[in-house]
Chain length 243, copies 8
């Protein structure tokens, strides 16, 4: 901005062009989606494509366009067909079927700093946990996972106490009664990001029970993301880990 | 019933009187409330009066009528005025202000059998826990209480593991995220009755969050009563304890 | 624990090994799910596998691993394919299609003690009732069932009054308005476990109407489990029956 | 209308007056509320004033205006102050404090036809039951009440079976689990109007539990009105009774 | 009952048999469902089978058993396959595909008395309206239907005012904002049974919007049944019409 | 009306015919749906057919009947099969697959006045935006669209500020947190119609989150339509644009 | 902006000052609230103060500050004390107690253009209607009100049909079932803004029933604002009226 | 633990004492509440007392006990009476009336590191923002606040962009539509903790609207705490800031 003003002062740019510049934002139109090509510079993060509802053709086209401007790309909620097509047509695609994610990274991978710990309560919560783990890793975090440590077998969790306390940020994933983040939050003095999952039936109401439980956690320092939103938790954990 | 039929067969009773008898049920009318005077015989339990919305005068009148047929009487949700009046006008009344209960027992008390353990998560959950404890004791159970063992300080609970495992039935009271019954349920092989409380704010929605969490408990053997329903939990625990 | 401390005192065990022992918990990793191999000893209960969302292959693998440590195994929410595969590949599998359960028991069966009575309101509630019945039986209870005794034909229920009063614990299953547990609870002085089902339409909201009705039951001694949770009710009833 | 057209045809009325007549509706403006003075003729019913939110002065003014056109007047949800003022200032006012209603009738009362039976489950449901009873009587029905016949003591209800079957229409009032209308509906072949009350606590959610239960009643022939809406039930029952 | 007592008095029956008779209720077991064979005598109504969730084979078997005791039979929520099978295998079956009902009547039909008017707001509400109409007719009512008279074109409704006022009972069916019963209720002095339908999208929440609107109707005399419950409305209307 | 009265006065029409005329409303019966053939005259708008739940045959029949009385016709929520059939069988049909709309216009199109701006937040919100745009255009508005301007990249929206301020009415479409209408509403002094979409997952609850957010918008001048109701927003915007 | 750039080009302003200007926004800090003093110029509207939760002292201070920059000021949700203080201390204050609004206008008032019609269903809805009317008038609209035209007495509304059709924008206020906007929307071809009120009881759930009904209105062209939000409706109507 | 084992090995401690030690947890009983006196050591944080529902006497007693073990103490939700009593009786108490907090710090205060930025949308959201700010500061963070930057005046927020980007963690507080965290989240690459407030009316449902909006934020990196939970947000932000 200063540069533009100086150019106008110096007569190197006329007023009309200055006005146009101020109005020109780094936006590129692809027909489907506007890509903000400055984002990686601004945030140092990977570009992300939300795969749900996109055809395999659209996915490939958008991914190719994104990879012209970014070294790292994450596709979430990829359909099996979309993932297969991405892997077949674009080099270095890596598919994680459990979490329905596809990643693209440079040849030398992504540097891994700090430690984000992803803890999931039940077998069925692993998919969401993996989405958080893949996301955090692609945003520059070293990631480890602890699984099957539901609160009804509290000793399974307690054996990991030291590990829990070594993380910079924790993502805790649980469905049903959503109690795990409260217990973990009481064991550590680090930020805990709670992810409710839609695992459960009847009065779980698609994850609402776990969501409400987590929002009412008696452990201070616990924050919450949307139901099944492993991606959001992974980004938040990576941001904390990076600080 | 057999007796009546035999009397009819033997001509000691005519048909009209027989019909009338079949229709006559043990019900007595007091103006305010019909009292079922057979209940103690049938259930072996104390008579119970729900105090809320009743004037001190009504409370005293109903309690007096009940004590003509019962040795033990429990008044729940008594207003301070109602409790004071009961204590002033009827002998052997005992008031528990925290839980808003008033009890009446014979001179030699109530025999205490087995063990019902009432566990409450936070300071604010104690009132509901006391209602459960008073109720269970008046229905013939030996009762102990463990307090302030919320899941965010899990070690506070774990020191009581042996005690927890010694109960015949457990009442576990918690507000906020309502996680305590799941943890307790995983430590014992006894029936756990979960009581959600309305303690909490915001998205606790008056205890809904804790209620849903408890209904979705991953610990099998946990059953749930209504929000703040210490009385119901106490009755259920006493019934289990008595079996 | 005492044993370990004595071994350390006596020099038979060094401190490092003692520390390791304290940290070593009875946990075994199978890739899919951690199995707690001490549970049967602790609880005297069958191992349980939640079948939903597992492939037939996973089911067989997990069931085989469990049967190495347990004599009795219960698979709930088994898909037809999963159930067929279990019956084909593992001896002594028994399939209950209505309730989607598969059981494994020793040659001489499971001893049946006491009496758990499973009462269901409508034809459609039977599946959930059967899940409760199968579960309670596999946890050591003698079980009987009463069916099609909805409250709109109250006489159908009343003919069973004596039977109802003979049970140690009752499981009462109802959808729609969920009124049956209140009526049953008024007829017996035993613990009643209410199971709301998702049977109904419109404003039943997937069982919410029945759930709320049961939580608000005017009959003391009624506790509630999650919608369609016949399994949880069966475990709780067996625990009460065993006491 | 025919009359007006004939008058125009015969030249007894000009077109402008005819147009005006078609547009003139029987509406009178009082400042607070438009009174439809034709209603009694059309419906044969009492005029009704909703008392809530009106000052004693407004109540008296509106009641006086109404009584110029109607012989019978019903004031619902009257505040104690409003009721007292009405009784003090207008002759033949009769106050029912439990249901917060005030009635005005001609000297020779209101003829009472048929039979509307108002059945209420608990002591606390009586106020709503009385509102229904007062309303139905003022709309020309003979009314009887049965009280304290909750479903947890089913025998209390069953002794009234013959009486229940003798009514032309039944109003059944219940809070908490709202099960009574289903049981009553199974005992009679007459229309049953169910009134949920806000009696209850916790997960009764201000009467929502009872409302949902009644809407899901398994007894055909049961219809439902709003929570605590004794007035609406009374009107509907009177309309059925009159048919 | 009197008969039995007299027989005992007269020595024509011994006490044991008398006891047995009192306990023997008219209940027959078919494996799937207990049929109450006394119902028609008691209620004068058709037997009803809820078709949803039943196989064609079950439907035919239950229908045949019911027709041994009843002259009139109504099957609701019949699947196309079930309806086809009923029509193919049992004489006098009549299928109404829009409302998914199948009826069985005697050769000389069912006498039609009074007038039940079924009014539906939109094209999509007709199916529920037809269920109400078929049900009411099979329960002895003369039935007429008025269709496509939504409140946004109020003149379409007003042309039917005289017809509306001629009915003994009205069933008013509407989805979306559910406003029609209020308008109809203001035009007639007859009982109006409102049926919310699940027609609508977004914030209609499966008919909840219409249900709440109808429960809050400002027109007195309106009662409500469950969402899409044309059957319940038809039974209630027939009961009113018969009175 | 005056005309009819004058004819009666002048003896050119007899009273019976006058009565008939007053009762004759412009309504035509097609079997499926009553068409109000006066609507275009009254409203100056296109006829609209709601396609959902109609067979291709019904759609074609209703569309043909409508086109006899209207020049412009809009079919919303058309199934792919229905749209294909309409395009194949009726001239000048135009299909917009994204929004599932089909339009029919005169050869010389529809005059376009003023400016309605349709702004959508995310890629997935475009379908609803297109429905609004097509609807507004067919009701006589000039329409432009701005897409992919979600609030998390606020600069993408701000570049369009001048364009936003040039519209007569704005339709703002957003799912997820539904924040866009508040931001747009703060930038313009024109009426903003907010359309929540069902885009989102978990606690979006099918668009409820966006709906509530929009209803609580802190920007005055924002009004809201139902979830995914692009059609309703388009009509409202066209009415405003026309004023 | 152009002006600033030209000044820089011409050397009349240096770059630092230009940068500062771009960053300087028209914002003034009063301690309590930032006032945007450019708003009237931008929007041509009155300044608005939300009175709820502010002390009389704060209200007076904020109002005085606002009146330095604005000729017209609207205070909504003023407490009685706050309103009295404003009237006592600031000239030309005008208090509307029913709607809890206070207005300030220039000596020659506010020009009144077009016609906004505010229609309210019941007596209790008038307060919200007045808030809408006062707001619209202060934003430059000529306003008229129609009251007590609930849908259960549809003829009361129909006499106003011509008046309804003469407005540029309509605000329709209703509680309970919220049906009035649908009926009005069917009578006019103008934008209708529906305002649900919290009037009602039981299942009105504080206005939720009316809100949902309005969102599901079958009349196209109806848009909705928040419960009791007469202010928002008034602003939107004035914006439409002005167009 | 190792120490204890070594003492046992070395014979300096016998087995019984070792067992006792393992069972002895750092818990102290005060009658009202168990205080965990090790917490500050473990977490480096202030002790916190939840003031709501405690009498002034209890508050002073608990605070005194806590200050024996902690240098810093935070009392939240203090009643005015409780706060006054604390300030009168204990030195160095500091009261923040807007947020109802009272703090106790050592003479030399609390070191302030990093930067936590607390951003609040409206005037009414400041109280919750202050609770977050006070909490974060007492947990060791340097804190700044930005106020009155609601999204409907987006330029007020944008002038702070550089400041926003300089924080280590941001707490964003908003009621009504809760849109601010999404906009802020799009401007920074730091963790954003969103706090919904109960500010709003009607369909805000006590903060539910803002809560759902924040959970559905389209800006990755946003996590959410309970409604009005400034304390929880402050703790989480301080933990992130400290990392």
């Amino acid at each position: 901005m200063r540069e533009t003003l100086e150019a106008i002062r110096d007569g190197r740019m006329d007023v009309e062009e200055g006005l146009a510049r101020f109005r020109a934002w780094p936006v590129e139109d692809l027909g489907h989606t506007q890509l903000d090509t400055h984002r990686e510079a601004r945030c140092g993060d990977a570009e992300v494509i939300f795969g749900q509802g996109k055809t395999p053709e659209q996915l490939v086209e958008i991914a190719r366009a994104a990879l012209e401007h970014h070294e790292r790309l994450l596709v979430t909620r990829a359909t099996p067909e979309g993932a297969a097509r991405l892997c077949a047509e674009i080099p270095r695609a890596r598919h994680f079927p459990l979490s329905r994610t596809v990643t693209f990274e440079p040849h030398d991978g992504t540097p891994a700093h700090g430690l984000v710990l992803v803890v999931s309560a039940g077998t069925s919560d692993r998919a969401v946990g993996e989405e958080a783990a893949v996301t955090a890793r692609l945003h520059g975090a070293r990631v480890e996972e602890i699984q099957d440590v539901g609160v009804a077998g509290i000793h399974r969790l307690l054996v990991h106490t030291r590990k829990l306390q070594s993380a910079r940020a924790l993502v805790v994933v649980a469905g049903m009664e959503g109690a795990l983040p409260s217990v973990v939050g009481g064991l550590v003095d680090r930020p805990v990001i709670a992810v409710p999952t839609s695992i459960g039936y009847g009065a779980s109401f698609g994850g609402l029970a776990a969501l409400l439980a987590m929002l009412n956690s008696c452990a201070a320092g616990v924050t919450v993301v949307n139901i099944d939103n492993g991606f959001g938790a992974g980004v938040a954990a990576a941001l904390i880990n990076r600080a």
